[in-house]
C-alpha cells in the first residue's frame, strides 16, 4: 500500500428502511474501523425514525477525518438493505465505487396505496452509478433463523472488501449484538463474506 492510499479516507454509506437494523450495522462498522486504529467518524440521522421511514448512516475512517458527511460522488461503498433506498442514495457513490444491495424490496406506504409506483428498472439504474453486487441477505438470514440478521449478512459482504485485522470483526460483532444471538450473528457475518 502506498502512503497516499494509507492516508486516504474510506467512506461507507449505509441505507435502508427503519426497522432493518441500519443503526446497528453502522455502529458495528464504525467500532470495527476505530479498533483497527483509524480516526473514525460516524454520522446518522435518527429521531423521526419510526418503523417504515428511510434511514441512512455514514462511516468515514482514515488518518484524519474532518467532516462526518460523505460528499456527493465520494462514497467508496454503498451498503443498501433495500433496493429503492439504494437508488435514492446512489449519486453519493464514487464513479468507480461498489454498491452492495440486499435482494429485498419494501413497498413505501404511498406505493401500497397506489399513489406512487415502485421503479421497475432498479438494476439498470444502479448500474449507471457504479458496480453492483446483489447479496441475498434477507434469504440467508431467514435460513439462519430470522430476517433480523440480514444487516449482519450485509456487513459480512462489506467486510470482504476491507482490510481490518481479522480478529477485530468477531470481537466487535459479539459485543454489539444481543448476547443470546451472538453465535448466529457470527454465522450470518461469515455467510455474508461469501458474496
Amino acid at each position: 500500500m502506498t502512503t497516499a492510499q494509507a492516508h486516504r479516507t474510506t467512506n461507507v454509506l449505509t441505507v435502508g428502511v427503519g426497522g432493518q437494523g441500519i443503526i446497528t450495522l453502522t455502529n458495528v462498522l464504525a467500532e470495527a474501523a476505530f479498533r483497527a486504529s483509524h480516526d473514525t467518524k460516524q454520522s446518522e440521522i435518527h429521531g423521526l425514525s419510526q418503523r417504515g421511514g428511510s434511514v441512512s448512516g455514514q462511516v468515514r475512517w482514515g488518518r484524519h477525518v474532518y467532516s462526518p458527511i460523505i460528499m456527493e460522488g465520494e462514497a467508496d461503498f454503498l451498503v443498501a438493505m433495500e433496493e429503492l433506498e439504494a437508488l435514492r442514495q446512489a449519486h453519493r457513490l464514487r464513479v468507480d465505487g461498489l454498491i452492495l444491495v440486499n435482494d429485498f424490496r419494501i413497498l413505501p406506504a404511498t406505493v401500497v396505496t397506489g399513489q406512487a409506483a415502485y421503479p421497475d428498472d432498479i438494476d439498470a439504474q444502479l448500474g449507471e452509478y457504479g458496480r453492483v453486487v446483489r447479496v441475498p441477505a434477507a434469504a440467508v438470514a431467514t435460513e439462519l433463523g430470522t430476517m433480523r440478521m440480514a444487516n449482519i449478512v450485509m456487513l459480512g459482504a462489506l467486510a470482504k472488501h476491507l482490510d481490518f485485522p481479522e480478529d477485530v470483526w468477531p470481537a466487535v460483532v459479539r459485543e454489539m449484538v444481543p448476547p443470546k444471538y451472538a453465535d448466529t450473528n457470527l454465522q450470518a457475518f461469515a455467510r455474508g463474506r461469501e458474496f
Binding site: G53, P108, Q125
Partner: protein, 578 residues
C-alpha cells in the same frame, strides 16, 4: 495513555459534565438533545431527572446552582423558547455553582418544526456561548463552560447541532474532578430580582459583558490556521469540519466562542487574507457582526439560510466543482415514516378521517398522521398548541363542532394543561383527545409523570390524566381503550356534538414499551375486493403483492385493527398451530 472511545456529541457532553463534577442534570426529551440526559443518568454521582418541560428543567437547574452545585440543563432548540422566561432574568442574578445550558439546534430540521438559530439567544440574553465541532470538543467545552460560569458569575450556553449530537468521533476520557459544593449564602440583592435589585444587577451584568468580550479575543479555542494568503474563512461548529473537508487550502479562523464574538481576532485575520468568507448554517450571525466592523465579507449571498450547509454545497458554490457522478435518480416514491405496526392509536386517525373532522394536532408520534397515507392532521405548531388552537377555531362562526384537538400524554403535561383550564374558563366547546401511551414516545419512550416510574425506573405515583382534566373543570371526561373501535367511535361522535368542553383519554400503552405480539398474526382471505380500507391504516405490515393485499408475518403485531375496519370480513386471525 488515557482511554479512548467512539462517542456521540451527546454522550461526550454528558461525560464532560461528569468529569467537571456536575451534581444535577435536568432536561425534557427532544431530538437531538435527548441522549445527553440519558447518558448523564448513567453516572451515579449526577442527580438526573426528566422535568415536565424545559422551563421547569431550567428552573430546577437554577435552584441547584444557587444552592451551590454544578448543574447542567439540556434541550432542543425550541425548548429554549419554553425556558426563555427564566433565562432572561437568570442572567441578572448570575450563578453560585456553575450552570451550563445545552441548546441542540437543528439546521435541516430532521425532527423539528423550525430551524431557529439559537446563537441569537446568546446575544439577546447576553450569555456566553461555546460551539464544539466534534465530540472531543463537546466534552472539553462542556467542562470548560462550568469554569467560565463560576469565574464570570453567569450561565453559559454550549450550542450543538444535530451533526454534532449524533456523530460519533474519537474521545479521550478523563477522571471526574470532585467539586465541593459552594456554600449557599443568603443574598437577596443578587437572587431576588425585584426591580430595585435587578436594576443594580444590570450594571453587574454589563461589567461582566466587557470582561467576556476580552476573554473571547484570547480564548484558546478560537484558532487561526494559516494556509492560503488569498482566501480565508471564518467559521464555527460543524461548519469548521465541512470547510476543512471541502476547502482544504483556505486559511481558517475557527470560532469556538461564538458569543461574545471576538472582534479583534476577526480584524486581525481579515487583514491577512485577500478574500474573506463566512461559512455558517442558518442565519448570518457572524456575517452581520463582521460587516458591522466594516469588513468586506462573502457569506449568505452564496450559501443558503435554509437547511444544513453540507460540504458538497461549499465545494459547488465556492470552488465551482461538482461531484462527477450522475445526478440523483428522479421521480422516486418517498418513504415517509409510519406509526409502528400494532400501535392502536392509529385507530383514532382512521375515525377522525372517516368523520371528516378538522384535526388540530400537536408534537409527538401522532404528528406522523400529517403524512401520507394517513393525511389526518390539519394543524401542528408547537408543544401544547392543539388545545388553544382548537378553542380558537370554535370562536369562528360556523366552526364549532367541526374540529378536535389531539395531544399526547407527555405533551399535555408539558404545556397542554394550562390550555385546558383556559378552555373551561372561557366557555369553550372543544373536544380534546389525549392519546395516552404512558410515555414520551417519539424521542425514545422516556417516562413522564403519567408513567408511574421516574427516570431511574423507581415507582412513583402515576398522574391521573382524567382526574386532572376533571379538576381543571371539564365535566365530560371519558376514558376509552384505543383498541375498542366501536366504543371509541361512539364516544367521539357524542362528544364532538356536545356544546361544552370534553376530554377523551384514549388509552393504549406504547407498543415499544409493552413489547410482545398482541395476538396471532392476521391473514387476508378470499373475500378481499381490494377496497384499500386496510391499506389506508398505514400499517407497515400490510402490503400489496401481485395485485392482492398481503399481511407480512414479520411485521404483524396481531392488533387486529385491519380486521375491524374491513367491511367484508376478509381479514381474520390465523389459527395457531400447536
Amino acid at each position: 495513555m488515557a482511554e479512548r472511545r467512539l462517542m456521540t456529541g451527546d454522550q461526550a457532553v454528558a461525560r464532560g459534565a461528569w468529569e467537571a463534577g456536575a451534581a444535577v442534570a435536568t432536561s425534557y426529551p427532544g431530538t437531538p438533545a435527548t441522549e445527553i440526559n440519558e447518558a448523564l443518568a448513567g453516572y451515579p454521582e449526577v442527580n438526573t431527572e426528566w422535568s415536565v418541560n424545559e422551563k421547569v428543567a431550567l428552573e430546577v437547574a437554577v435552584g441547584a446552582s444557587f444552592a451551590g452545585v454544578r448543574a447542567i440543563v439540556s434541550m432542543k432548540q425550541v425548548g429554549v423558547n419554553v425556558a426563555a422566561d427564566p433565562l432572561f432574568s437568570l442572567v441578572y442574578a448570575g450563578v453560585n455553582g456553575g450552570l451550563v445550558i445545552i441548546t441542540a439546534d437543528e439546521p435541516g430540521l430532521h425532527s423539528s418544526q423550525n430551524e431557529q438559530d439559537n446563537r441569537f439567544y446568546a446575544k439577546f440574553a447576553e450569555v456566553p456561548m461555546l460551539e464544539p465541532s466534534d465530540a472531543q470538543e463537546a466534552k472539553d467545552m462542556t467542562a470548560l463552560a462550568f469554569d467560565i460560569s463560576e469565574q464570570y458569575d453567569t450561565p453559559v450556553f454550549v450550542r450543538l447541532t444535530t451533526r454534532i449530537c449524533h456523530t460519533k468521533t474519537v474521545v479521550h476520557l478523563g477522571p471526574r474532578r470532585e467539586v465541593p459544593p459552594r456554600p449557599y449564602v443568603r443574598n437577596m440583592a443578587k437572587y431576588t430580582l425585584v426591580p430595585s435589585h435587578a436594576y443594580k444587577r444590570h450594571f453587574e451584568m454589563e461589567k461582566r459583558q466587557i470582561l467576556l468580550e476580552a476573554l473571547a479575543n484570547t480564548f484558546d479555542g478560537n484558532l487561526v490556521e494559516r494556509r492560503s494568503m488569498e482566501y480565508g474563512v471564518v467559521t464555527s461548529g460543524i461548519s469548521y469540519q465541512n470547510v476543512r473537508e471541502a476547502l482544504p487550502d483556505f486559511s481558517v479562523l475557527k470560532i469556538s466562542m461564538t458569543y461574545p464574538v471576538p472582534h479583534q481576532l476577526i480584524r486581525n485575520f481579515a487583514s491577512r487574507v485577500k478574500y474573506l468568507y463566512v461559512v455558517e448554517e442558518n442565519r448570518p450571525f457572524l456575517e452581520e457582526e463582521i460587516r458591522a466592523l466594516g469588513i468586506a465579507v462573502e457569506g449568505k449571498e452564496q450559501l443558503l439560510r435554509v437547511g444544513e450547509l453540507l460540504p458538497d454545497m461549499l465545494r459547488r458554490r465556492i470552488l465551482h466543482v461538482d461531484s462527477g457522478q450522475k445526478p440523483p435518480a428522479e421521480g422516486l416514491p418517498g418513504r415517509p415514516p409510519q406509526f409502528c405496526p400494532g400501535c392502536g392509536h392509529r385507530a383514532v386517525f382512521h375515525l377522525l378521517k372517516k368523520h371528516r373532522l378538522i384535526v388540530n394536532g400537536d408534537i409527538g408520534c401522532y404528528g406522523l398522521a400529517a403524512l401520507p397515507p394517513y393525511d389526518a392532521m390539519d394543524t401542528l405548531v408547537c408543544m401544547g398548541a392543539s388545545v388553544g388552537m382548537d378553542h380558537g377555531f370554535s370562536k369562528v362562526p360556523g366552526m364549532a363542532g367541526k374540529s378536535v384537538a389531539v395531544i399526547g400524554d407527555s405533551t399535555f403535561l408539558h404545556s397542554g394543561m394550562t390550555n385546558l383550564a383556559n378552555l373551561v374558563y372561557n366557555r369553550g366547546c372543544s373536544t380534546v383527545l389525549i392519546l395516552d401511551n404512558r410515555v414520551t414516545a417519539m424521542t425514545g419512550h422516556q417516562p413522564n409523570p403519567a408513567s408511574g416510574r421516574d427516570m431511574a425506573g423507581r415507582p412513583v405515583p402515576a398522574l391521573d390524566l382524567a382526574g386532572v382534566c376533571r379538576a381543571l373543570g371539564v365535566a365530560n371526561v371519558r376514558q376509552v381503550d384505543a383498541t375498542d373501535l366501536d366504543a371509541l367511535e361512539e364516544a367521539l361522535v357524542e362528544e364532538v356534538q356536545r356544546p361544552e368542553p370534553s376530554v377523551l383519554v384514549v388509552r393504549e400503552r406504547c407498543i415499544m414499551v409493552d413489547k410482545g405480539r398482541k395476538g396471532p398474526v392476521y391473514v387476508v382471505g378470499e373475500n378481499c375486493k381490494f377496497c384499500k380500507q386496510c391499506l389506508n391504516l398505514g400499517c407497515p405490515a400490510i402490503t400489496v403483492e401481485d395485485g392482492r393485499v398481503k399481511i407480512l408475518d414479520f411485521f404483524c403485531d396481531g392488533c387486529g385493527l385491519c380486521a375491524k375496519v374491513c367491511g367484508l370480513n376478509a381479514i381474520t386471525a390465523r389459527e395457531e398451530t400447536a
